[in-house]
């Protein structure tokens, strides 16, 4: 029994993964700029995403300055305010979160974690980044064209997005749509890579049910993205045609500035359906990789296997599938047939079940663990709390009757920032603190990390928790200024001031994080190959940072799942996935338990 897994590998021969010919760069330009190495591409994606994300962060300060201190800042007028709103939302959702989780973490972690030399289509992978970069530049350019960036809100609802009365309907919206189309083209090239690599390039012994949950999360998220982005693509192209050629896909008859427009019979609701058919899966495109990363980091730093691995995998798949039939819960007040409400409220609340199970399993992984409160672990705990909070308010908004009063109020803003703003960003921080040692060979500074963690975690809770209550009062979202009303108490303005101050503090605290990264690249404490004593393959590379081709002469062979922590009968409290069973040091060879997959996985 002590070498049960070994016997099994003899019975079922594992797939032979042939060695791949990689393109070996000979010049620094092909090595570091037009690189085909997924790890370099990952860093390029991440750096670009973080830079544009900082622009999004500054935009949020400007919005908060106006909301906290209306009429103080002359340079913020209604037009520029709505431009900040729009660009902040689009940048954060698409160009930061999607790009960073899939293009950044996907590229870095998939080949390393499944034991592949690289992505299967390295050239296309390189193109993916450069098209993404062009998309970012086109988007950024929209700030500088006459009329400025679009001010249509990140949802870009027509007719308003391309009609008089909205900022940026000349160059701004056109560049925005072109940029989105480019982004989707670039993403598709990368996304196909991630899916095919996971399906075709796993190391010997790396069965699907042995993959780390990070890979599962990114894999399913990528499939979602490949199915969801086309809806945004067609919506974007159609809106471009409406704007540039005067077609009427989304444009009904309307009177703008006293004149009848030439549009006829288009459907504004069609756009909303297409947008949210993309937009809801998009939430999970960001969330599923975060779920995976959190699972792996918690398990590693609690020195305990992830609780209910199979349930975690099926929950990811179930959430991914369900995410395609809940989209119209964003449209309860859109004027669509109200009977849709019954269906979409039901599907939306059903999705809470697998999501809640993931939540339980993270906490149950901590239970009876041996928890190291490292910086990555701190951020994961913060994520659990934040995501729990945001998930719960999702139960409010998903339940159609509750959504009606809260829709389009600050409650919604607080909800989605908790659930898909702060929560995934906390995971990004956890992931960077966790994998930076592998990427650079050096540790990030612990003390600065503590400072960064506490300000970010507590600050973001102080920003968004009270904000829900503005929604209960009835404060609408997307208001340049609330002005005089009979129902909003003066204390709400005080709360808004408070929130703005905290936003600025949390925002500036990120400087510490950026400085920590830059300084640690050069001066950080050397990390060694496996500073966290983790089991998954990326920590077992021959060199740190891993070279081109990831592993040494031989690709790793995988003998067990990624969660062999504190296995009874084994001396060390972790067994790497690629350690042959006969090399595992056992405390007592006579009675030692299996250091392999838990038997449940083979049922």
């Amino acid at each position: 029994m002590s070498n049960g897994m070994l016997e099994e590998t003899q019975v079922v021969p594992l797939a032979e993964i042939e060695e791949v010919d990689l393109y070996h760069a000979h010049h620094w330009i092909t090595k570091y700029v037009f690189s085909q190495d997924a790890k370099i591409i990952a860093i390029q994606y991440s750096a670009t995403a973080i830079l544009i994300g900082l622009v999004g962060l500054v935009l949020s300060w400007l919005m908060r300055l106006q909301l906290g201190f209306p009429e103080v800042f002359d340079f913020i007028d209604a037009e520029s305010y709505y431009q900040y709103v729009t660009m902040h939302g689009m940048i954060m959702v698409i160009y930061l979160l999607t790009a960073l989780f899939l293009g950044g973490f996907g590229n870095y972690l998939i080949p390393l974690m499944v034991g592949a030399r690289d992505m299967v289509f390295p050239y296309m992978n390189m193109l993916s980044y450069w098209v993404y970069l062009i998309a970012v530049l086109v988007l950024t350019a929209s700030f500088f064209v006459p009329g400025g960036a679009s001010g249509a809100g990140w949802t870009l609802y027509p007719p308003q997005a391309i009609s008089e009365g909205t900022p940026g309907i000349d160059g701004g919206i056109i560049l925005m749509l072109v940029s989105l189309v480019l982004f989707i083209i670039g993403f598709t090239m990368g996304g196909l890579n991630y899916v095919v690599t996971v399906l075709q390039a796993r190391a010997r012994g790396m069965t699907l049910m042995r993959m780390p949950l990070t890979v599962w999360g990114i894999f399913v998220a990528t499939i979602l993205a490949l199915l969801a982005f086309p809806a945004l693509f067609v919506a974007g192209v159609m809106m471009l045609l409406d704007r540039v050629l005067g077609t009427s896909f989304f444009m009904p008859e309307m009177i703008v500035q006293g004149e009848m427009t030439s549009h006829e019979n288009g459907s504004p609701l069609l756009f909303q359906h297409l947008f949210w058919f993309f937009g809801h899966p998009e939430v999970y495109i960001v969330a599923l990789p975060a779920f995976g990363v959190v699972s792996d980091i918690i398990s590693t730093h609690a020195r305990k296997n992830i609780f209910g691995y199979r349930m975690m995998v099926w929950a990811i798949v179930a959430i991914g599938g369900l995410s395609f039939i809940v989209w119209a819960h964003h449209m309860y007040v859109s004027g669509m047939n109200p009977y849709f409400g019954f269906f979409f409220a039901t599907t939306t609340l059903i999705i809470a079940v697998p999501t809640a199970l993931k939540m339980y399993n993270w906490v149950l992984t901590l239970w009876k663990g041996n928890i190291h409160l490292t910086i990555p672990m701190l951020f994961c705990v913060a994520f659990i709390l934040t995501f729990l909070n945001g998930g719960i308010t999702g139960l409010f908004l998903g339940n159609v009757i509750v959504d009606i009063p809260l829709s389009d109020t600050m409650f919604v803003v607080a909800h989605f920032h908790m659930v898909m703003g702060i929560a995934p960003v906390l995971v990004i921080f956890a992931a960077i603190y966790h994998w930076f040692p592998k990427m650079s060979g050096r540790m990030l500074h612990e003390g600065w990390g503590q400072f960064h963690f506490w300000i970010t975690f507590l600050g973001s809770y102080l920003i968004y928790f009270p904000m829900h209550y503005l929604g209960f009062i009835g404060v609408p979202r997307r208001y340049f200024e609330i002005g005089e009303t009979s129902f909003i108490p003066p204390s709400a303005a005080t709360l808004n001031e408070f929130i703005t101050v905290v936003v600025l503090i949390v925002g500036f605290a990120q400087v510490v994080f950026i400085a920590n990264i830059i300084i640690s690249i050069f001066k950080g404490k050397p990390a060694g190959d496996n500073p966290w004593n983790a089991t998954s393959l990326e920590w077992q590379t021959a060199t740190t940072p891993p070279g081109h081709g990831n592993f040494g002469d031989e690709l790793p062979v995988v003998y067990r799942w990624a969660y062999a922590y504190s296995v009874p009968g084994v001396e060390a409290d972790f067994v790497p996935q690629n350690m042959p069973p006969d090399e595992v040091k056992r405390t007592d060879t006579a009675t030692g338990a299996v250091a392999d997959d838990p038997p449940e996985l083979h049922q």
Binding site: L269, R303, S491
Partner: protein, 294 residues
């Protein structure tokens, strides 16, 4: 240790904030108390889960903090516990959904005796139309809108002539009467939102949307636009006054009809060329909504 204490403080602090902060529902003025009830039920069920999970997590973090002589437990799965948690969660979801959908059924079922009021949105103002003595609103089309016919009413429709038009003034609603609000936009999306009524709905150009309510107390309330509609979005305001029956009738008596305000438009001279076919879109939409309501 610090983290565990902070987690407990967050859980306890959030509950204290919920009950003691000055920010809560704006007092309701419609029959949609079921929405407030649904929110309170949701708070009760999810609040317990929220506090329980955080406290359990804080306990784990404290109790199982790293010690050199400790070794973590090894328990890959526990089907019994996992299924038990699944069913508890499912029960919670059913507990949230059931009252929600029952209330929603009421929301989508417009009472037969509801009076139709129309709200017309445009950048960035509200206009209103009430049925005249015949109790029916005339059909309308955006294509008929002109200076002589700002609401785009169909002059050939006998129901339209006596429709009461309210421009640049407050909307008045009768107390304790079911009202079906028909919503129409002449340009972009808007949303008719009165916080005290709880119910809200988008105005969509090319469609007539609706919701219904019964007012439950008199007073003057703000109307806001809740769907981004351009740079004037935040300034698209109005007021609605809920009157008791006598006051409402008195106010109504002072209002003017389409035929009185715009005799040229009501006579249809401006739109002689417009065919019936051209106004079909909105006409049909209006009828469909009426049927759905029944």
């Amino acid at each position: 240790m610090v983290l565990a204490i902070v987690l407990v403080l967050i859980a306890v602090g959030s509950v204290i904030f919920h009950f003691w902060s000055p920010w809560w529902f704006t007092p309701i003025a419609s029959n949609w108390g079921s929405m407030d009830d649904a929110i309170n039920i949701t708070f009760a069920i999810t609040g317990v889960a929220y506090v329980a999970i955080i406290l359990f997590m804080a306990y784990c973090i404290y109790k199982y903090r790293y010690r050199e002589d400790r070794r973590a437990d090894y328990e890959p799965e526990n089907s019994k516990l996992e299924w038990w948690l699944t069913w508890v969660t499912a029960a919670g979801v059913v507990g949230l959904l059931t009252p929600g959908l029952i209330a929603w059924n009421e929301f989508v079922t417009v009472p037969e005796d509801a009076t139709e009021f129309e709200v017309v949105g445009s950048q960035w103002e509200w206009k209103y139309r009430l049925p005249g003595k015949d109790g029916k609103l005339g059909t309308s089309s955006i294509k008929l809108i002109s200076d002589d016919n700002p609401f785009g009413l169909n002059p050939k429709d006998p129901n339209s002539k006596d429709d009461i038009l309210i421009e640049g003034e407050d909307l008045h609603l009768p107390l304790n009467k079911p009202i079906k609000m028909l919503l129409r936009s002449v340009d972009v999306l808007h949303d008719f939102y009165v916080p005290q009524f709880r119910a809200k709905m988008d105005l969509v150009p090319g469609m007539v949307t609706f919701f219904w309510l019964t007012t439950t107390r008199t007073g003057t309330f703000d109307i806001l636009c809740a769907e981004l509609c351009g740079v004037g979005h935040h300034a698209m305001r109005g007021q609605v006054v809920v009157d008791d029956t006598a006051a409402f009738q008195k106010w109504l008596g002072g209002q003017k009809s389409f035929a009185t305000l715009y005799p040229k438009g009501a006579a249809g001279t401006q739109q002689a060329a417009e065919s019936d076919a051209e106004i079909k879109t909105v006409l049909t939409a209006n009828n469909q909504n009426n049927e759905e309501g029944k």
